[in-house]
Subunit: 351 residues, 2 copies
DNA sequence: TTGTATGCGTTATCAT
DNA sequence: ATGATAACGCATACAA
């Protein structure tokens, strides 16, 4: 069996533009012209000869060399808070498709919502001279983002706004989506509605969702105006404690729990299961993110589908627009969410 | 508000090693020494001056230039069949963590199991002069992979073997994991066990799982020896048809369905839900991949947890080993899976 | 239609 | 302990 890993066998020579030039009997300038598709300044003859030589030599232009010369890496950086979250990967898919179609490669970085990691990644991507950055930011590194922006590198914010930065931003229209959901919940006649979210902090998507929740319940003069529960799902026991709080305070009432994202919903459902709390008999539930398990759990979980793939596509399209010279002020793109009603949110009347 | 996107404002100058040299009043060679950590050949004085200058100028070494010179990009390529599958992202997490710790960046590519896309990505990564490749291959592009290997680029196969390639390979120990699961199913006393898989083709993980299933049932003289169903989950109606087939043929028997991966399991559960087939009353189920919904669906779904994160870590560690010179023949690392028994697979006796 | 020469931002070799 | 210079692989201005 051939030992493909033996580095010492022969000091492998990767062919360069010079090799191709020599092989085709022309200058490297001519090869370069071929590579950049300037076929009209090439004779049919030489063009064919170049083609053959490239194939024979298995020549692949070195992107680093090209990038160095043209000051363009043809790679895009993407920083996500949690690559494990289907929300992120779906956006990633959208970004990737647009990248590929336009000849860009994608460098993916996962921060676990850790500002320190995020900072490291920003600097690393900067060192790679990325041509654009799509980021689901923690909001703690605006200084470094701003530095990137000063270098004329297009930056697009995803899922989280940062008005002070004036970057292009692509998000779900959280006010619209939340409004639609709450309207429905109110119609169903719930006496108590709990909103469960991860710590709101400065994360715009969280504050918009919680804010809309509160405003609407106030407007409806609903008893649950302050039933907003913040819990760090990584902190042992914290979520369960908040759940117990709500369950105790709403004992016997027609109630539901609205989770601000799919991952949190799943954690909550786990806890419910341990406590033998039944859905929707003991409590109704609904959440953001229409993940693939939603139809299958219990009576089906009511969800708000976010236009994730589309968010990715739009984000990358903004990057491209900036690259080709768009200099207008930062644009905000808010894409509508969709409410999927399932069995987990019955009406008080009994439909 | 400052217009950070206005490219024409001032022709931004990104500082280079020359700027730093000038600023610190030394030669670029000295700066280069500093950058590569050769502090023992630098006076305390100049070292501090360089440090200050770098900070003042916000200098970031250009990785393309460095890569060009040293013939090393410090980036790793990762090609996955489906980034949307939690199985993939979990591996990705492992790969990423090891990358970051060692100063490597990660280029992520998603093929949708399309050999053509895969080929494009391989060539693109080659053009970037990646220092290593981790790939969940379709198996249709061995020619190009081999070409990469000839260029002494370490390649690690993940989840799928390709013995003819002699690459390092990291997988779940499918025989071990499947054996453990089937032993359990047999103990539970099922009269019929269906194995549902995506088209086996040349994918080693699929064939090993199906093969082990078949061998074990034969050894046990079990009636389900040929209850192996292949279905393309993207083909409309195909999965449902196979399900109907099995349901009809096993009517009234104590039976279960074993799905070869989590995504497929979810599709099947969807179909069961539509048909109002109850778990485990009408049929038991189990699957590969211990995804986060498993404990929460129905009575809890029995699963085989794959050591995904660890697969990623091991894969990247193999890449690093090759980079620092390991020239031994391709290594196979088979990591054990874990059986998680839940309510979806009751015993005939009634436990 | 084709070629020559220079430079992109680094590192490495050889001096001093 | 520090510098001058060449070279990495390519694109571009300028010539021919």
């Amino acid at each position: 069996m051939e030992d493909v890993n033996n580095k010492s066998s022969k000091p492998f020579h990767r062919s360069t533009i010079d090799d191709v030039a020599r092989g085709a009997g022309v200058s490297k300038t001519t090869i370069s012209r071929y590579l950049s598709g300037q076929f009209d300044s090439l004779s049919e003859q030489t063009r064919k000869r170049i083609e053959e030589t490239i194939a024979a030599l298995k020549y692949r232009p070195n992107r680093m060399a090209r990038g160095l010369k043209r000051d363009k890496s043809f790679t895009i950086g993407m920083i996500v808070a949690d690559i494990t979250n289907p929300f992120s990967t779906s956006i990633l898919r959208g970004v990737e498709d647009v990248c590929t179609k336009n000849g860009y490669s994608l460098m993916v970085c996962n921060t676990d919502n850790d500002p320190e990691k995020e900072k490291e990644y920003i600097m690393m991507l900067q060192a790679h001279r990325i041509d654009g950055l799509i980021i689901n930011s923690t909001g703690q590194n605006n200084e470094y983002l701003h530095e990137l922006a000063e270098e004329k590198i297009p930056i697009v914010l995803v899922d989280r706004k940062a008005p002070e930065l004036n970057f292009d931003t692509v998000v779900t229209d959280n006010v619209q989506a939340t409004t639609k959901a709450i309207e429905f919940f109110l119609e169903q006649g719930y006496d108590r509605i709990a909103f469960f979210t991860q710590p709101i902090g400065m994360v715009s998507s969280r504050s918009e969702r919680a804010g809309t929740f509160q405003k609407m319940l106030e407007a409806a003069n609903h008893p649950s105006t302050s039933d907003i529960y913040e819990a760090d799902i990584r902190a042992e026991g914290q979520l369960e404690q908040k759940i117990d709080e709500f369950l105790a305070s709403s004992e016997g009432q027609f109630r539901m729990l609205f989770a601000a994202n799919g991952v949190m919903m799943l954690k909550i459902l786990n806890i419910f299961q341990l406590k033998q709390i039944r859905i929707p008999d003991d409590i109704g539930v609904a959440c953001y993110d229409d993940l693939d398990w939603a139809p299958v759990i219990g009576p089906g979980i009511t969800t708000i589908a976010q236009p994730t793939y589309s968010i990715g596509v739009n984000a990358m399209e903004r990057v491209l627009a900036r690259i080709i010279g768009d200099q207008s002020p930062g644009v905000l793109i808010a894409l509508p969410g969709t409410l999927n009603v399932r069995g987990s949110t019955p009406s008080k009347a009994g439909t």
